[in-house]
Amino acid sequence: MDILNALVAFLNFVFIPAAAYGAQLALGALGVTLIYAILRFSNFAHGDTMAFGTAITILVTWGLQSWGVSLGPLPTALLALPVGIAATAALVLGTDRAVYRFYRAQRAAPIIFVMASVGVMFVMNGLTRLLIGVDEYRFDDGARFIIAVRDFREWSGLAEGLALRSTQALTLVVTVIVCAALFWFLNRTKSGKAMRAYSDNEDLALLSGIDPERVVRLTWIIAAGLATIAGTLYGLDKSFKAFNYFQILLPIFAAAIVGGLGNPVGAIAGGFLVAFSEVAVTYPWVKVAGYLFPGWQPGGLLQLLGTEYKFAVSFVILIVVLLFRPTGLFRGKSV
């Protein structure tokens, strides 16, 4: 019984939250890694792209809610998501046309794109603030739990409860669908292969008749879609606050680099690795330990690091991976 209790506590406090968080990071890291692979720079505006897409989604959600539209047990935001993706795609395509395209034509060094992305980050940050302000919003509606703590206790007779929030389940389901669709697109369709070809060898792709501008546009649209979905899922699961989306840039970059920059599989693996480590290191294990070793009275909470240092975890994983595998877990394009 105690082992089961320990397992349930682990699932409830570590596994499920980390899986949902990892899925959100993975989606964000996929966008970063795609832009790195194809446009060849790290997009510092990605966090703010996520925030912008989420802000639009929230505004549309509020609109739908005020008209009384809902999806029943599912959050209304799912209905609003396509609008958010479309608006974000339009914004990033406009940005590319106004900002990045010039440097592409000039064949400027990729670091110049990084600098430009800092400018874009400021603009997008301001736009999001103009749109929705700097406050914290919750916008999840519909059913809150798939498994509620009390129901689980009654059903299982265990002392520990298990909760599965609908936003967490939704995150995982959506992530699986999005990743499957993305890999199908990249590996099976002509356009997806063209994107990979362009990433491998720009000149040869051009000489094969692949339109580089079309590849770039596709990349931005996919990145905008991934960013909006990641941002909305993160916002549904936790809450929306523009500044948090700026801060999430570090774990997202860490995930993309740990997995091997430019490698989509790596980005997903990196996202889950970062998330699981972050949650595992900042979780107070005293409860789980109490079930596993009933006689033991540990002095503290058995928490390796306070939650306020969760960013340190991304950092340490990053350093450790890079020290031992400079190209990331999966071979990226970075070295």
Partner: protein, 443 residues
């Protein structure tokens, strides 16, 4: 070739004219009162003082980027760790804090560093990851065993007023150098790891360390009281209240036609300004001398053709580490100066957008690789950043004036201060597009 190519031989008058224009802006701010300017010398000097600190920060970033192409995204962290110095150096010691846990705390920190060093030695000697992990785990346990009780004891000591380890009670000016040393030490640690890999990973590593340093300041109450803030950090200049009670000063102010309150504010700010100018000019002098020395020629050679420099036997990684540490030290000095100017350590105010990326805007707008350009860019961008907060709402107010009262108008007016983010982004993008070498291009 392209439409945006700047004349490679810029006019020698370019920089002086731009600096004069900047001076006019500050004169207007000090003298003219209208929708654009405040007409207050106190405001003008306050902007200028912070602008000078930004200029020193920008100089540090410019050393790293301009001379070596290092992309530091953790400026905020180096500013913050520099800002720790005034707290630890110049605050009076806290009664009983040292006795409560000082030695144990030092022991814990030594144990932490020792563990890292030992882990590295074990790994290089044996090459076994598990042995190193074992050392790290044992070290962590030892560290927490020493550290946790010490922190509890220190934080319990008079927690309402202090609860931190306290300072050494030394002059605050000394802390500026210590701030530089703190930042240099942190930079050495990061650089050693991030530059030493097969290819460098400095951007992401500095992004991480920046967040971590700020998190440490925010949460380690024993260090600088965390989010409870440290106030009344000693000043290197007189206090306004003392000046106002000094009859000689009041007379002096009256002769210039100022009230005592206003004049005391201006006087204090002028004192700060002089101090900052001395530091700024000193750093520029040293930087320019260094650039003209054989060392500077070598740095430029590495920057312009790393492969050739490497072939000539130059250790590129070591040079990069050197300049990264130097630049970070300058940023740390600026961080210490900023805390001294504010007289307040408030870790929550360290926002990367403001303290990392705005500094980057300053460097790029001013002119990468040019020290005077960085100074110009920093003061100008800081002026715009502050004034945009005023101009944005005024502009929006004028634009939405004809609109009927309502939610939309209220929303637009309410969010007008955020316009400055868009404005700064646009300034950066426009400069990068039409004058990529900056306002004062590198010679």
């Amino acid at each position: 070739m392209s439409s945006n190519r700047q004349a490679s031989a810029a006019s020698p008058w370019r920089a002086p004219i731009l600096f004069a224009a900047l001076a006019v802006l500050f004169l207007l701010e000090g003298t003219v009162r209208n929708g654009l300017f405040s007409g207050s010398w106190n405001t003008a000097l306050a902007i200028l003082n912070m602008g000078l600190i930004s200029a020193i920060t920008a100089l540090g970033v410019n050393m790293q980027w301009g001379y070596a192409g290092l992309f530091n995204t953790g400026v905020v962290g180096f500013l913050a760790i520099g800002g720790l110095a005034p707290v630890l150096v110049s605050l009076p010691p806290v009664q009983g804090a040292w006795d409560a846990g000082g030695p144990r705390l030092i022991g814990a920190l030594l144990a932490g560093l020792g563990t890292l060093a030992l882990a590295k030695i074990v790994y290089t000697r044996t090459g076994r990851i598990w042995a190193m992990a074992l050392v790290l785990l044992a070290g962590l346990v030892a560290y927490r065993w020493l550290f946790d009780p010490a922190v509890l004891a220190i934080e319990a000591n008079d927690s309402a007023r202090t609860g931190n380890i306290g300072g050494l009670g030394l002059p605050v000016l000394l802390s500026w150098i210590v701030g530089g040393a703190f930042a240099a030490a942190a930079a050495w640690g990061v650089g050693k790891v991030a530059l030493g890999l097969r290819s460098d990973y400095l951007a992401i590593a500095t992004l991480g360390i920046g967040e971590i340093i700020v998190a440490v300041l925010r949460n380690e109450n024993w260090l600088a009281r965390g989010v409870m803030n440290v106030t009344s950090i000693p000043r290197p200049v007189p206090y306004e209240i003392d000046l106002q009670q000094n009859p000689a000063f009041v007379d002096f102010a009256a002769r210039w036609g100022f009230g005592a309150a206003e004049a005391s504010g201006i006087w204090v700010k002028l004192c700060y300004m002089s101090l900052f100018l001395v530091v700024l000019l000193g750093i520029i002098l040293l930087a320019e001398l260094a650039l003209k020395s054989p060392w500077g020629r070598m740095m430029r050679a590495i920057r312009d053709n790393e492969t050739a420099a490497e072939a000539m036997g130059k250790d590129v990684t070591a040079r990069h580490l050197q300049i990264f540490v130097l630049g970070s030290a300058v940023i740390g000095i600026a961080g210490a100066m900023m805390i001294t100017l504010d007289g307040l350590m408030a870790p929550n105010s360290y926002n990367p957008l403001r303290y990392t990326f705005l500094i980057w805007v300053m460097v790029i707008v001013g002119g990468s690789g040019n020290n005077w350009g960085s100074v110009l860019g920093a003061v100008l961008i800081w002026f715009l950043w502050i004034k945009a907060e005023v101009w944005g709402p005024n502009l929006i107010g004028a634009l939405v004036g004809p609109l009927p009262e309502g939610d939309i108008k209220a929303h637009l007016l309410g969010s007008a201060p955020h316009m400055r983010f868009i404005a700064m982004g646009l300034v950066l993008l426009l400069v990068l597009r039409f004058a990529p070498r900056g306002l004062v291009p590198e010679r």
